[in-house]
């Protein structure tokens, strides 16, 4: 298995390289550039063309695309993500700063969503076509179809403006000392919105894979051996039903670090999602590429982890 993991890691390198080429070309093909995006037209008229050209030249925007890609790649290979074209801040530092808040927000939401979703999904599979099954299905569809910006604003108006219970946004109350209680209060609404979006996902997967497992021969065998229904469900069906769920969790892992653009923006949560949003709006090429690269690496690693976990969960799977 160790050898398999190493081989997969080795394949990841060319994959990442292709990702950078595509990302670099796409980002640069989009109209606009960091300098034009920064200057509003009224200011532009008064600045004069020389000043604008000077800024473009200083950022190297006038070089041919391939030259720029080469320069960027050379720095990346040395572990240097470079500096933002807009703010001049180190990109590595900016990304590191955002990982904490995003992990806190997304991690909590994904863990909660999984902890709520899986038992609900299993229950509704075991009691298929019961009122519980219908209720969770309806809830699942409602939760997954409600746009998060709408839910976020609705929560904000109800809990922050109307009732005054919770702060509208941010990570802490400005002007007072930081405290855990304060942080938790700020977390409630964004976590709730993201959990609501995540729960149906694990719930539906859990339901269908449990249903699948219940149809298997080994479940029938276990039942015909005279085992108690509880043991049949937990030991025979559930263990096997969890295997496909590894995929779902594996897919969620990169999300934990790449953040949720809309929810973070509405609730002003200073995470990776907001950073990405600002980078794209400002055409901050190096920052966009830095974020894409980190996200792509996370996806590859998560897929690898999920594949390896399959073998742990299901002894029938062998790597060659």
């Amino acid at each position: 298995m160790g050898q398999y993991a190493l081989r997969r890691l080795a394949i990841s390198v060319p994959v990442l390289l292709v990702v950078t080429v595509i990302a670099f070309m796409l980002v640069n093909l989009a109209p606009g550039n960091p300098v034009d995006a920064m200057i509003d037209p009224a200011t532009r008229a008064e600045m004069g063309p020389e000043a604008i050209e000077a800024r473009k030249a200083a950022l190297g925007l006038n070089d041919p695309l391939l030259v720029r890609y080469g320069k960027w790649l050379r720095e990346i290979l040395q572990g240097n993500f470079g500096y933002s074209a807009v703010s001049g801040q180190s990109i590595g530092e900016q990304i590191l700063d955002r990982i904490g808040p995003t992990l806190l927000l997304m991690g909590t939401a994904i863990i909660l969503g999984t902890l709520i979703g899986i038992p609900l999904g299993i229950l509704s599979a075991v009691r298929q076509y019961s009122w519980l099954d219908y209720a969770t299905t309806v809830f699942g569809f409602l939760a997954i179809s409600t746009p998060s910006f709408f839910l976020g604003l609705a929560f904000m108006y109800f809990f922050a403006v109307h009732l005054g219970w919770l702060p509208t946004s941010g990570m802490r109350t400005l002007g007072v000392d930081e405290s855990t209680i304060d942080l938790l209060k700020h977390m409630i609404m964004p976590v709730a919105v993201l959990t609501l979006a995540h729960t149906p996902l694990s719930m539906r997967y859990a339901r269908s894979s449990m249903l699948e497992a219940l149809k298997q021969d080994y479940v029938t065998t276990a039942r015909s051996k005279g085992l108690k229904e509880k043991i049949v469900l937990v030991r025979h069906a559930l263990r096997n039903a969890l295997i496909p769920l590894i995929t779902v969790i594996g897919v969620s892992l990169p999300e934990m670090l790449s953040g949720a653009v809309i929810t973070e923006t509405i609730f002003q949560w200073p995470g990776m999602g907001m950073l990405a949003m600002r980078a794209v709006n400002g055409r901050d090429y190096p920052l966009i590429l830095g974020i894409i690269l980190v996200t792509a690496a996370l996806v590859l690693i998560s897929n690898l982890i999920a594949d390896l976990l399959y073998a742990v969960a299901d002894p029938r799977i062998r790597f060659r």
Partner: protein, 556 residues
């Protein structure tokens, strides 16, 4: 009896048996107004504000970026940060009148060529170092280099010898003279009274930078320099404490500010989406939000926590016509006659704006009279089109930057009214970068709808947009309209310092633009601010930099 009822309601409210809405409704039934109730119980639950020990919290929708490089400021959020920390030679008060900042006195020669500034004495930087004329000269010399990439470079090169210095042909700027320890004289190559006027990004009134801190930093390294990322040393009313990207900037009062210590110890400038800001304003978490949509302002005006301020704006909501595509002015006049502008203003902004008929809209002395107001008249419009031989099969494409809500509301109405007079309009909203590209960098459009600008500050602002020499992409003339008579008037007007002499010139300028209509002028929108009733000291006026006197703001 009334008092009993109300006291019982208040007791219930304080015991949390009823909520605020029920209290206000109950009190209203007993004949006591919401205002009176507020006076009795204080404004709504303001958890953040109440705990903050009087810190002022201001909302902003655009990111400040980590970049506090005085030469490359481009957004309102950054401007606000810089204005709190740094001083300029002069600034504008709420009536858009110049007041001294780091210059205590100033004098402009009658031909608008020589600007003499008496530098304020006794000012210290936030680290205690005395501020001197050397800091001013250092700032101007630094900005006048290619390496600085300053937005104001175009303006600064108008200083005598400025271009030669910029091109590294000389080491001295002839027009930037240190007369004595407290007098600075700036002489321009050509007279230009509007040299002082500019938007944040191109303003010749630079934020004066500390020479003792930045003097040794090469200009190419400014962006990443510690003192630019964390501008803790300025001369302004407030001192920079920290910037948390995508969250806030924290400031503390500068006890040695030249006008005396600010009334409020701590200020936060917080970033939030417009919709979030509205919620924060209502919940009392922020004390001011700028650029409120008219409809939201209307809704909030009944709130007992929020006070709405409507100020005249400096910009113009307008549709530029790419004149090579629509060369006949009668067609452009027909478009104005064919649009019911007052109805449009009422629908889009609930009437919060003022119809304008040219780009000359202020200051007060320059406001033109007797212009054609193009009152809605589809028949006149049709007659003009017939006269011009307009082919009703021709389609004109109208573009704007997607997400500009006011245009998105107005454009379909405009399209329909144009159809009624026989002009086909195709709506073509574009993503902002694509819009900029087709309208400015590589002009290829028929009609472009936008807003903004600083027209009310000085009538010469018009010259940026209509001089023949200023065609896009080099300048700001998006319409590619060129009229030599207009050019001559604009050049004459900027060469005079006395408003009484300038006024008749701009009357003529306005008349030409009003007749030729390279741009369809709609209105100047009001700036709408929402402010917490506790926040006192704010002086509203046309100045969009409403924080110009922030040292006097306090929570009461």
């Amino acid at each position: 009896m009334v008092n009993d009822t109300v006291s019982r309601l208040i007791a219930d409210f304080q015991a949390r048996k009823i909520n605020r809405r029920q209290l206000v409704q109950g009190a209203a039934a007993a004949g006591v107004s919401a205002t009176a109730i507020t006076a009795l119980i204080g404004p709504s639950a303001t958890p953040a504000a109440a705990q903050a020990g009087g810190a002022i919290q201001l909302g902003r929708e655009s990111e400040f970026a980590a970049n506090f490089n005085a030469f490359k400021i481009s957004t309102g959020g950054q401007t606000q940060v810089m204005d709190m920390i740094f001083g300029r030679l002069l600034k504008l008060d709420n009536t858009n009148t110049w007041i001294g900042d780091l210059a205590e006195t100033w004098e402009i020669s009658p031909d608008a060529t020589v600007f003499t500034f008496g530098i304020r004495q006794g000012v210290t930087w936030h680290d205690g170092t005395p501020f001197t004329i050397d800091d001013v000269i250092f700032t101007y010399r630094s900005a006048l280099t290619e390496e600085a990439g300053a937005g104001a470079a175009g303006k600064l090169r108008q200083i005598k010898g400025g271009t030669a210095f910029y091109n590294k042909e000389t080491d001295e700027i002839e027009g930037l003279e240190r007369v004595d320890d407290n007098t600075l004289r700036i002489t321009l190559e050509k007279s230009n009274i509007a040299w002082l006027v500019g938007t944040a990004g191109s303003n010749s009134l630079l934020w004066i930078q500390p020479k003792h801190i930045l003097g040794d930093v090469p200009l190419t390294d400014w962006e990443t320099a510690e003192a630019i990322q964390k501008p803790v040393v300025g001369t302004g009313a407030y001192q920079f404490v920290e910037h948390v990207a995508d969250s806030h900037v924290e400031f503390k009062a500068n006890p040695n500010f030249y006008l005396g210590a600010p009334k409020t110890e701590q200020v936060f400038l917080r970033l939030a989406e417009p919709a979030t800001q509205l919620a924060q304003l209502e919940s009392g978490e922020i004390h001011m939000a700028s650029r409120l949509p008219a409809r939201e302002a209307d809704r909030l005006s009944s709130s007992d926590v929020v006070e709405i301020l409507y100020n005249p704006g400096n910009g113009i909501f307008q549709t530029a016509v790419h004149t090579p595509r629509v060369p006949d002015k009668r067609v452009r006049q027909a478009m104005m006659y064919g649009t019911d502008r007052q109805a449009l203003l009422d629908a889009v902004l609930l009437g919060q704006g003022e119809l304008v008929y040219s780009s000359v809209i202020g200051p007060d002395w320059a406001v033109p009279t007797g212009l054609n107001t193009y009152d809605y008249n589809p028949e006149t419009a049709k007659a003009l089109l017939a006269e011009a031989g307009w082919d009703s099969e021709t389609t004109l494409q109208l573009t704007w930057s997607r997400g500009f809500v006011n245009v998105e509301l107005a454009a379909p109405v405009f399209q329909q009214q144009m159809a009624e007079i026989g002009i086909k309009i195709e709506l073509f909203p574009q993503e902002s970068a694509a819009y900029l590209d087709s309208v400015i960098t590589n002009p290829n459009f028929d009609l472009a709808w936008f807003g903004g600008g600083s027209y009310r500050l000085d009538p010469d602002v018009t010259s940026n947009y209509y001089l023949c020499a200023n065609f896009t992409p080099g300048g700001g003339n998006t319409t590619h309209y060129c009229n030599e008579d207009l050019d001559a008037l604009l050049i004459e007007g900027r060469g005079l310092a006395d408003p009484a002499l300038r006024a008749p010139i701009y009357q003529e300028v306005a008349a030409i633009l009003n007749e030729d209509l390279p741009t369809l002028f709609w209105w100047s929108d009001n700036q709408i601010f929402g402010k917490n009733v506790q926040l006192q000291g704010v002086l509203p006026g046309p100045n969009q930099y409403i924080w110009w006197n922030i040292q006097d703001w306090e929570l009461v």
